[in-house]
């Protein structure tokens, strides 16, 4: 573990604050194609993470990441709780025997695999995976490149836009069938918000 504890806390704080700031937008997106609670649920979950930030930051990195996952599972109150929760629980597990930054893609990949298993979902189904999978590809293919942070941000941002023409086949949006086309996916957007917050924090610390 080479990530400094104060950098990690800044990452988590920024990610949580960006989700909270985006809550209204996430809810508006979810009102279009879901049940309109994504922003409220994510805000509740990340507020709980902020409340525990000092405790989380005092743990070893793997335990800290798992604690974020458990907090989201217990507080979000929608399907996004187990989905994001499983990401962090699995990534935390991976961190117990892997090292950053060299194993970043493997750690991230463990989280993405857990999301896929929890949601029984794959690429192209208009979900958060449509952001997480392209970012995982970049992390695998371009690890160590000087502009990796910029590439991750650009990939995540473009990937959100690409969910608009997709037809949802998973989650509540699938009830709409073809009417889900034309709207970006709220879960893809929240994943992008989190990834961009991490990118901004790391850039500021470079």
């Amino acid at each position: 573990m080479t990530l400094q504890s104060d950098t990690f806390k800044s990452l988590v704080k920024e990610a949580a604050e960006q989700i909270i700031a985006s809550a209204a937008e996430l809810t508006a997106l979810d009102q279009a194609i879901g049940d309109g609670d994504h922003g409220t649920n994510m805000r509740r979950g990340f507020q709980a993470v902020l409340t525990k930030l000092d405790t989380i930051g005092a743990q070893p990195l793997d335990e800290a990441v798992k604690m974020i996952g458990k907090t989201l599972v217990m507080t979000v109150g929608g399907a996004s709780g187990p989905l994001y929760g499983s990401f962090f629980l699995a990534a935390g597990d991976a961190l117990s025997h892997k090292k950053l930054p060299e194993d970043l893609a493997a750690v991230f990949g463990s989280g993405v695999a857990a999301v896929s298993a929890r949601g029984r979902s794959q690429a192209g189904e208009k979900t958060m995976l449509d952001v997480l999978l392209p970012v995982l590809d970049i992390l695998k293919a371009e690890a160590g490149r000087a502009d990796l942070i910029e590439r991750v941000r650009a990939t995540a941002t473009e990937a959100v836009a690409r969910t608009a023409p997709m037809q949802a086949t998973k989650g509540r949006a699938s009830f709409l069938g073809a009417r889900s086309v034309g709207h970006i996916d709220p879960g893809a957007k929240s994943s992008c918000v989190l990834l961009c917050a991490v990118c901004s924090t790391l850039e500021a610390r470079q």
């Binding site: 609670d37 649920n41 599972v73 217990m74 109150g77 709780g81 187990p82 929890r118 509540r172």
Partner: protein, 130 residues
């Protein structure tokens, strides 16, 4: 009553969860343990993993527990709750793919006859098979 499969009802709405549990108790009687969880951790519409875990433990039977859910988030959160149980209990809890009200009544009726967890689940899921 530990020789009957327990029933847990998980809805986004506390009123639906409670109402379904009331119907089960009236139609099937009090022998089968029935517990429910409805709403998010703040009491709004949604689901609550901690509450689902409590309901599973309240309805616990050595023969296992069958969970009936309403919409997707209730299923995902119920699966998460099962995975967070003590390891020896995890394999004895199933989430049924069945309509919540009819499934709960059918599952509890089957459970009242002393059927196994797999039989209880199969009877509830016949409703979805049409």
């Amino acid at each position: 009553m530990s020789d009957m499969v327990g029933i847990v009802i998980v809805s986004h709405s506390n009123d639906i969860a409670k109402g379904t549990a009331d119907m089960v108790r009236q139609m099937v009687g009090g022998e089968v343990k029935v517990a429910f969880c409805g709403g998010d951790p703040d009491g709004g519409l949604g689901t609550n993993v901690g509450g689902i875990m409590d309901a599973i433990n309240d309805a616990w039977s050595p023969k296992g527990v069958a969970i009936l859910v309403d919409l997707g988030g209730a299923e995902t959160n119920s699966e998460m709750a099962v995975e967070m149980l003590e390891p020896e209990r995890r394999g004895l809890v199933v989430v049924c793919n069945a309509p919540i009200v009819e499934g709960a009544v059918m599952a509890a009726t089957e459970a009242a006859g002393g059927s196994s967890l797999e039989q209880v689940r199969a009877v509830a899921e016949e409703l979805s098979a049409g």
